[in-house]
Symmetry: C2
Subunit: 288 residues, 2 copies
């Protein structure tokens, strides 16, 4: 079984990307694993702090480890946005494959200092666990919005610069880097998501060398995904899109089955909807 | 840590009952574990075949084992109604604490033969795993209904007889026995659930000696629960009531938060509702 880093480097070398999909519940988890299994392509399951608190850090780690070690499935687990060392310690001890330290709201100096501290801690426990960090504010919430979040980088002058990226990666020692390159967290319901700045992705990738990660994938054009993967972004995050599929299927299920009370029956359509949404994304990202 | 059998015998000796609550999802699982932990009383988590297929047999076993072995919580896992040896093998291999073989629709002869086969298999793998079986049809579905399910035993002449119970228990070698004593699966929305026949419970208990289990607890009167526990039913199943709490909270959550798409936020009220419903039941059954 490849490690997560080997999996990502393998995707990178082929100009494709691995999908990172968030879950809060077993319906989405099983749907995503099934989509990846059916496509015979690796996948990363992500849980934000809110998702981890709800689902359980140890529970997520036990389940993913079992899928990988007992069933041989290339399924990896990421702590998607951790805001404190405390939170990172919890997932490292539980056995997550990677953590994202999110200091995106801090100044560059503070972000570097905090991120370096995180890298040192994580590597002291297990050098195999990857640390990712983000630079440049791209919004924080995986939800639907009608206006661009205040402060989110969408003009060229607001994107992560090559200079900052190089300094950040060098001084922190992170394994993967998530720049602001036109992406925003969440998904717009009224305006098209901005285009990704592919040439900036290429420039950053050439300068920092380590794998880049695309956050805020929901709502981005298919062609942009392909270009971003080819430019050095072998890991793409999708969250809002899946949540929306989950919710809409659940609402329909509740409406269509007014007398049904069994959660597993009511949630089955959500599992199926997440499967469809994820399958489509994995297929696209992997150029299958 | 006590075994499940020790826990049940301990409850029996004190004339109280342990609650058995079904789950399909992580919200209900965490809610039930929290209620039991807050009340410092053991609890059994049950998954029917449908629930197991949805949540995952191995997933449930890994999580419960972790709660017990790492966190020291007296939480046990039951395969609630398995209809085939194949299904039982799956849960036994995964490490469930108990299984219910449901041959309630079979003739007494067939039910005895199949149940004995199940007991022999389970004990050959792990003598510590408990086998429970049910005698007398009490309906099959944990749902809301407006009429008594066809064939469900509610007249005294339809209840499990002492004679059948003795023969069944003796010839099968089961560890726990679920008789039809006025209980029905599911929960009525228009007619009161029938009263339990407490004297029949006592007679069966005196004759078979092993712990009796009350299925179809949702909708039964509080006083009947107490009487049943005192008469020799140290394990009481509640399902529909929890499902209803889960569903109603979810519907309200969706209505109250039209723009929210995060499953963990939308499901949080369900977790809280299941907590309240379970807390109340554990407290009642344990006479706390």
């Amino acid at each position: 079984m490849k490690t997560l880093l080997e999996t990502i480097k393998d995707a990178e070398s082929r100009g494709v990307a691995v999908g990172h999909f968030n879950i809060s519940d077993m319906a989405a988890l099983k749907a995503i694993v099934k989509a990846a299994t059916d496509l015979q392509f690796p996948v990363v399951i992500g849980l934000s702090e809110g998702e981890r608190n709800f689902f359980g850090v140890e529970e997520a780690a036990l389940i993913i480890r079992n899928l990988r070690e007992k069933h041989g499935l290339p399924v990896y687990l990421n702590a998607d946005h951790a805001y404190s060392l405390e939170s990172i310690k919890q997932v490292v001890e539980a056995g997550f494959d990677s953590v994202i330290f999110d200091g995106a709201k801090l100044s560059l100096e503070e972000n570097i200092a905090k991120t370096r501290e995180v890298v040192q801690y994580v590597k002291s426990v297990n050098p195999g666990i990857l640390v990712e960090a983000e630079l440049g504010y791209i919004g924080t919430s995986s939800e639907l919005f009608t206006e661009t979040p205040a402060g989110a980088a969408i003009k060229e002058k607001d994107l992560t610069t090559v200079e900052d990226a190089v300094r950040f990666v060098k001084e922190t020692g992170i394994d993967m880097f998530a720049p602001a390159v036109g992406n925003i967290h969440g998904m717009s319901i009224s305006i098209p998501n901005p285009d990704l700045n592919i040439s900036r992705i290429k420039s950053i990738k050439d300068a920092v060398q380590i794998p880049l990660v695309l956050h805020g994938g929901s709502g981005i054009k298919d062609t942009d995904f392909i270009s971003a993967a080819g430019a050095g972004m072998p890991l793409i995050h999708i969250n809002t899109e899946i949540r929306l599929a989950w919710k809409e299927a659940l609402q329909k299920s509740l409406t269509d089955n007014p007398n049904e009370v069994a959660p597993y029956k009511l949630l089955k359509p959500s599992e199926e909807a997440v499967y469809e949404a994820t399958y489509k994304r994995i297929k696209l990202f992997a150029k299958l």
